[in-house]
Symmetry: C2
Subunit: 353 residues, 2 copies
């Protein structure tokens, strides 16, 4: 593999000095890009796009070709693991994911425990290898997984939820069932991320989209604890060079400090907490990734520039900041606005280093 | 009007001594009750139920008849004001509210400014009067309104949203338009709540369901500032006896301290922040309402009792706690579980007073 030409993302995640703040965008390979929509149309469906390494590679590279970003992130779905566990994943336009065989009882959990999901995910590792080859060392490639808790929410609810009635019902009525499910998922996430790293991922991120719906105590037990297991196991492998691990819980509050204490290298922040407040909570333990409100990209150019500046200013000086949105870029954003964002980060951020 | 026999809610909201922690339940008149479903069926539709004072009164009283609660809360919808502004409100089963004429430009805002919405809301004040009469002083009646920001989200999005693309687009691209809309709504909310108080509401609550989707700065400008205006104007009226004002922003973080500084008497908490942490943030300024995870009611009786105890213990000793769920009770909860909750609060809470 060719040497990395632009390594400022990796350096910032490890809190090493960088000349400017690195930048990538959550969901940067997504529906707001006309070239993405074209490839997806050609693929026929979202799952085919995820499961065809050549197509997944193509869309992974699209934002890197179009914008001057400091990382590629593998195009994939967060539900690949439950899909490989045989839960019958499908996507309906505008409705999101759906599992035909959700997890409802111990028998379901035991059935899942007997599967070998990692073996069914070669398409992911193939995509990672292809992307690394095509990137030719321009920027690092980030691999990712859903967090065990977040995977469990979809597996138990069977679809996107607002109230999380079924999984929270399980949490309060049958905690042993949920704990067993989370143990299986934690181990699967470890192996999944390690396989991505072996295939070439140079950093990894765990997306805990639904940790924020839990009470503090439930968060610590059912969302954070499994993520800590993932971090601990990944760190044990002692890969060289170090593969930085980023954890991201959307809607996290004071628990940010607990997240930072897991041993991970960086934590992602949504836009509802300010960077200075987050920095006060995590101290110097980890790098911070974020956290522009994705909706700022609906504003005029000068507002985007103003808000970028505010995020940089709130983080302040020193390394350990990876610029990003606080959540995925939305599908109705004009790609030209991303150019404004990228240029603003490049223009303003050197002053903080 | 007969004198109040059970005034512990009012006393706790004003941080006066009480023998035990008062309790009511957000959305206590709701679909989890078979008698509510029967009345709603008889009404034909949700809006008819809201707009027929006799029926609204009937469902308001149902939970008070069934459980030993310390307050009634007016059964109504949070979108009565925008409905009276002529936005064409309708409800589709399972899809939530929809406005046929959402607010998209300054012309729409000016059209709204020219309406007299308060005149169209007599059915609300009539319901308040009826409920007071029927309650016969057993427990106080709480009136309520959506917060200006929360009303604006529905008015601009036209329906329930996940990404709040339109209103946040307005916030970043046309803030003057949003500010104008919020000024109109702030004044309407003041007049609406005052009319409820004149009709007999003995406490009022402002539901800011969507303040938590904003960045801190945007929250302070677009959600908190209008609520502060509402509080200030209500306090100016100097009603005797005092009508306690509770503000509730779902998903609030550090901004809880700002919320408490508005001059309100109490703040509501969802279940994601713990009571001791909240108390540390607000000091002795306000009472706190909450904050059991509504999903706890899916657990077995001993888990409900254990979790009730935890909330009481986290608040600790002294007055200023109103027990409640952290959000509305869900429709699939067994009403018998509410009996367990009520009994647990009555059994455990005297030890903290």
């Amino acid at each position: 593999m060719p040497a990395l030409q632009n390594d400022i993302l990796i350096r910032a995640l490890l809190k090493k000095p960088v000349p400017r703040t690195p930048l990538w965008i959550m969901r940067q390979a997504g529906r707001y890009l006309p070239e993405y929509r074209a490839t997806r149309k050609r693929a026929g469906g979202f799952l085919t796009l995820c499961k065809t390494p050549e197509l997944a590679c193509e869309v992974t590279l699209q934002p890197v070709e179009r914008f001057d970003l400091d990382a590629a992130i593998l195009f994939s779905d967060i539900l690949t693991i439950p899909d490989a566990m045989g839960l019958g994943l499908s996507f309906t336009e505008g409705e999101g994911p759906r599992f035909s065989k959700p997890v409802t009882c111990m028998k379901d959990v035991q059935r899942i425990a007997a599967t070998q999901p990692l073996e069914g995910l070669d398409y992911v590792y193939d995509a990672v290898r292809l992307v690394r080859q095509e990137l030719g060392g321009r920027v690092p490639l980030i691999g990712f997984s859903g967090s065990p808790w977040t995977l469990a929410t979809y597996m138990v609810e069977g679809q996107t939820s607002r109230e999380f009635r079924k999984i929270k019902g399980m949490l309060y009525a049958h905690p042993e069932l949920l704990e067993h499910l989370l143990e299986i998922l934690s181990q699967a996430v470890v192996e999944y991320l390690l396989a991505q790293v072996r295939a070439g991922a140079q950093a990894v991120m765990v997306f805990d989209t639904w940790g924020g719906v839990l009470s503090r105590e439930a968060y610590l037990n059912y969302s954070l604890k499994p993520m800590r297991h993932v971090v601990t196991e990944l760190l044990k492998t002692g890969t060289q060079p170090v593969v930085p691990i980023t954890l991201f819980t959307k809607g996290v509050g004071q628990e940010l400090a607990d997240l930072a204490a897991t041993g991970c290298h960086a934590v992602g922040l949504d836009w509802t907490m300010e960077m200075d407040q987050a920095r006060a909570l995590v101290g110097s333990r980890v790098a911070l990734q974020g956290n522009l409100d994705p909706a700022v990209l609906y504003g005029p150019d000068e507002v985007i520039r103003r808000e970028v500046r505010k995020v940089l200013e709130k983080f302040g000086t020193g390394s350990g900041h990876v610029f990003n949105l606080g959540h995925g870029i939305q599908q109705y954003v004009d790609p030209e606005k991303v150019v404004v964002l990228v240029e603003a980060v490049k223009e303003f951020s050197p002053a903080y280093h």
